[in-house]
């Protein structure tokens, strides 16, 4: 945390696929920097082996396996981690360790499922990156490694209902397995726990009970499980799974904050005063280069970046016990103490969010990243006070990936042209999109997010929409930003002027730098 005074240099803000340097008003601004990366484990493979041999509140994996069993290994999809990880991916390490044990025991009937719920299917290259070539070559040709299909009429089973009347639906293969091993990558504290199985392997019928506006508004940060209705609902669904006799062996992993390594992007992880002459030169070179490229070129370059994350912890065993420890590890890496709320919060939105890996950050994803993920990266209370203003920097162009986000285009053209109110959007349009046969077809056979997915993006920001007095997008395309219901500003100074109109003169400003990922612990 840094209080800005007159000597503070301009600070770095992400601006989609570009960067901005902005000077913040002195004496009423502060900057929250993300924490330094924690050291990683020396021998990740040994740590993984130890975790599955000595699990928490569970017998060792070896004892849970027997030769004629049905074993399903589910793993997180490409929405994690961000940016993607250098090979070997942790999922590959964990899955190989699990398969090693399974081979010793002699298990034959093994399926590996990318637990992507209603996300787009992963391509072969993406699956190979996640699970490694060895596992892919061994299982994919036999049809034992595949993407979850939540719209397969014969592939989904409703297990039961929670006492709140929430249906619990998971993949039939998982439901009929003797054991589900869920391989998790907990990038942020939202991930993992029962949300892995109850959401990742579920479908619209199960998800609609917590992916809705009422739940999200009762969730005072979905990053803080103790105050998250989203998680309570998932935990209830998890209890139904457990009571139905579905056994889950949960393996959760955490990584450190080393997103940019020592390479050309190392400067992005440093505070401005730590920039060496070489860093400054690299930064100016990278910025000038990116500014001169086409958007497509910028995307190709940036999405090819693979982060050198180190594994900081791995724990396995019973879902809830494991998840408590995992969450502590995530907090150890990410929590930053922030004292008091602010009138205006400022975010620089980067080029990638969970739903545009190897894709385009469209306006709806901009909303979700800013008002969903960044706004909710808090524990206690939001960084910005109720009625305050959120300013984010992003070009926010009216550009969509035609293959990955077909329903987003329609959502933008039809729904947002009418209203931006989440309740009304949910009431009038959700079911139509969720049951549209064309979106279903594209989700199942192409690489498209499910028809209902843009709605979830909007709901993710509904807590912020309710809390905030206004949202300003710096550098955004005016027509597009207005369609989102936000205000466009061409410079940060203009944005602060607009904000002053809403929150009064000389507002206090907090710039939360992200990425690398930090989570504000607001007192």
């Amino acid at each position: 945390m840094l209080d800005v005074d007159r000597s503070t240099p301009p600070v770095l803000l992400h601006h989609g696929e570009q960067f901005r340097l902005e000077r913040l008003p002195a004496d009423r601004s502060r900057i929250v920097y993300p924490p330094e990366p924690l050291p990683g484990l020396d021998d990740p493979d040994a740590a993984i082996r130890r975790a599955i041999e000595e699990p928490i509140d569970s017998e060792p994996l070896r004892e849970l396996l027997f030769p004629d069993m049905r074993l399903t290994i589910a793993f997180d999809d490409i929405s994690l981690p961000l940016p993607k990880m250098r090979r070997p991916d942790i999922r590959q390490r964990v899955i190989e360790a699990v398969l090693d044990v399974a081979a010793d025991v002699g298990v034959d009937d093994i399926h590996l499922i990318a637990a992507l719920a209603l996300h787009r299917r992963m391509t072969e290259a993406e699956l190979r990156h996640s699970v490694g070539d060895r596992v892919y070559d061994a299982f994919a040709p036999r049809g034992q490694l595949y993407n979850h299909d939540a719209e397969d009429p014969d592939g989904m089973t409703v297990i039961g209902e929670t006492r709140h009347g929430e249906e619990v639906q998971i993949s039939t293969r998982a439901a009929t397995s003797d054991l589900i091993v869920y391989v998790n990558l907990n990038l942020v504290s939202m991930d993992g726990g029962w949300k892995s199985t109850a959401t990742g392997l579920s479908g619209y019928q199960g998800l609609r009970h917590h992916h809705n506006v009422a739940t999200m508004r009762a969730t005072r940060s979905f990053m803080d499980q103790d105050r998250s209705e989203l998680h309570r609902s998932n935990w209830r669904q998890g209890a139904v799974l457990r009571d139905a006799g579905i056994k889950v062996f949960q393996i959760e992993t955490t990584v450190n904050n080393d997103l940019f390594g020592d390479g050309p992007l190392a400067v992005l992880a440093k505070r401005e005063w730590e920039w060496t002459p070489r860093d400054r030169a690299t930064f100016m070179g990278v910025k000038a280069g990116l500014d001169r490229m086409t958007p497509g070129g910028r995307r190709r370059i940036l999405h090819s970046w693979e982060a050198p994350y180190a594994l900081t912890s791995v724990q396995a065993g019973e879902v809830e016990a494991v998840h408590r420890i995992t969450t502590e590890h995530v907090y150890d890496q990410q929590l930053v103490a922030v004292e008091g709320q602010t009138d205006v919060v400022l975010y620089g939105l980067p080029y990638v969010g969970p739903y545009n890996v190897n894709s385009i950050m469209n306006p709806i994803l901009v909303m979700c990243l800013g008002l969903g993920y960044f706004f909710n990266m808090y524990r206690g209370r939001p960084v910005v006070r109720e009625g305050g203003v959120l300013i984010m920097t992003h070009p926010t162009t009216d550009e969509f990936h035609p293959v990955h986000h077909p329903s987003y285009i329609d959502f933008f053209e039809q729904v947002l042209a009418e209203t931006t109110d989440p309740i009304e959007i949910e009431r009038r349009y959700e079911v139509g999109y969720a049951e549209d046969e064309w979106y279903r077809h594209l989700y199942r056979t192409s690489y498209a997010y499910h028809g209902v997915h843009p709605f979830y993006m909007w709901y993710w920001g509904s807590h912020a929409l309710e809390h905030l007095g206004g949202v300003v997008v710096v550098g955004g395309d005016p027509a597009t930003v207005r369609r989102l219901g936000f205000r466009p500003a061409s410079t940060l100074a203009d944005a602060l002027e607009i904000a002053s109109d809403l929150v009064g003169p000389s507002p206090s400003i907090t710039y939360v730098k992200n990425p690398p990922i930090g989570m504000a612990d607001v007192t």
Partner: protein
């Protein structure tokens, strides 16, 4: 008298056609239209003809095509030069009554006896005897050298062409009666069934009027309207009234909207490359008449559906494969005559008066100009959508007022 006149001046037609490639404004300037002070008022061609003094006269898309030299050579034998354009006319008759002129020059006006079968049925728009009788060739007032036209100080009209304007309609309302009749004729020709999905292409005068007409006589239905400019959305909404909630989208987004509205599958990505929809709208009403709009109409209409062309096309080069493969019926809708509504046969103009009155369609008149400023007027009309206007007209009361009077122009 003062009048805007079009002569048979082939070099000017050619020049206008070339210049129109540069934009509407150069096209108009190079075109054959001239303002003259020394035009002889037309003589009365026969009994039942009377003199009219125009109060106001509108500029129609077909007028623009003519002055820019874009109109089809199809019309060559059925117009007579030199003529005074203007067929949307509100005028005073010698008795001081306000009248709207129904400009089609059918058998009755021409004094042809016996009248042709179409005219006998009241379908005067389908009259084929456009060069017969005691008038020179001309399909409407405003295309005939013997009748004069609205863009002048005086013209002649047959009594059968006149419709008296009730007092509750002002001049602008009255001016909208003729275009409303055209749109209405198209909307009713579409034979929309209950619950059909209908797309209206183009949010110009005809598009708005078609929306009002289908919402008035064909509800319930699902209505998609393509409109290029955001301000057009609200007007479309208000014209559709309460019975129908139209979905308004940009022309690029229409195929997506049609897919959604009809729960179709699509092969290929919608948008610029053009998706092939498994279904599509039942009826498309094309109020533009360009190559692009017809192509789009064929792309969004379901197999076996209908396309009604209300906007006047010209010589268009387009791919008709979808028409063939999807077995789409294309039908034109020219002018007006007699309609069958709820089993009753009613003159299109009478229905138009009703629609104009109920929707106060005079608000669509955005600006009026004196004849002297005809170039500004035509420029404005050619760019009406972009400049936030709809119908542009000549105001013939006040020949010397200072500027185009913008009534409801929104920028």
């Amino acid at each position: 008298m003062k009048a805007l006149v079009i002569d048979r001046d082939l070099p000017r037609f050619g020049a206008a056609r070339l210049a129109a490639g540069l934009g509407a404004s150069p096209g108009t300037r190079a075109g054959p239209l001239r303002l003259r002070d020394d035009v002889e008022p037309p003589g009365l061609p026969g009994p039942d003809w009377i003199r009219l003094r125009p109060r106001t006269s509108g500029i129609c898309g077909s007028d623009l095509a003519t002055v820019q030299g874009r109109s089809s050579r199809w019309f060559e034998p059925i117009v007579s030069f030199p003529f005074v354009p203007g067929h949307e006319i509100v005028a005073d008759d010698p008795d001081g009554r306000r009248v709207v002129v129904e400009p089609v020059l059918g058998c009755v006006a021409r004094g042809v006896t016996p009248v042709c079968p179409a005219c006998a049925e009241g379908r005067i728009g389908n009259c084929g005897l456009l060069g017969h009788g005691h008038l020179a060739a001309g399909l409407q007032t405003g295309y005939c050298c013997d009748t004069g036209g609205g863009w002048s100080e005086e013209l002649v009209a047959h009594r059968s062409q006149l419709h008296e304007v009730p007092d509750e309609l002002d001049d602008h309302d009255a001016l909208m009666v003729e275009p409303t009749a055209c749109a209405l004729h198209g909307a009713l020709a579409a034979e929309i069934g209950p619950g059909d999905t209908v797309a209206v292409l183009g949010a110009g005068t005809l598009g708005y009027l078609a929306v009002a007409a289908v919402a008035r006589w064909s509800a319930p239905l699902r209505l998609l309207v393509s409109a290029r400019h955001p301000h057009q959305r609200d007007l479309v909404r208000s014209l559709a009234g309460d019975a129908v909630t139209p979905e308004v989208c940009g022309p690029d987004a229409l195929d997506r909207a049609a897919r959604r509205a009809t729960a179709s599958q699509a092969v290929g990505a919608p948008g610029h490359s053009g998706a092939r929809l498994s279904g599509g709208v039942d009826v498309t009403i094309d109020c533009v008449g360009s190559t692009e709009s017809i192509t789009q109409a064929l792309a969004v209409t379901r197999p076996g559906g209908r396309v009604i062309m209300v906007g006047m096309p010209g010589v268009e080069t387009l791919d008709l494969t979808p028409l063939w493969q999807r077995e789409i019926a294309v039908r034109g809708a020219y002018a007006y005559g007699i309609e069958t509504v709820a089993g009753q046969r009613i003159r299109t103009f009478d229905l138009a008066f009703e629609l104009v009155a109920s929707h106060r369609l005079g608000r669509l008149v955005s600006a009026t100009y004196p004849l002297e400023r005809h170039r500004d007027a035509l420029d404005h009309a050619a760019n009406a959508g972009r400049r936030g206007g709809t119908k542009v007209a000549f105001d013939l009361h006040a020949p010397d007022h200072p500027a185009g009077r913008t009534l409801k122009g929104r920028r």
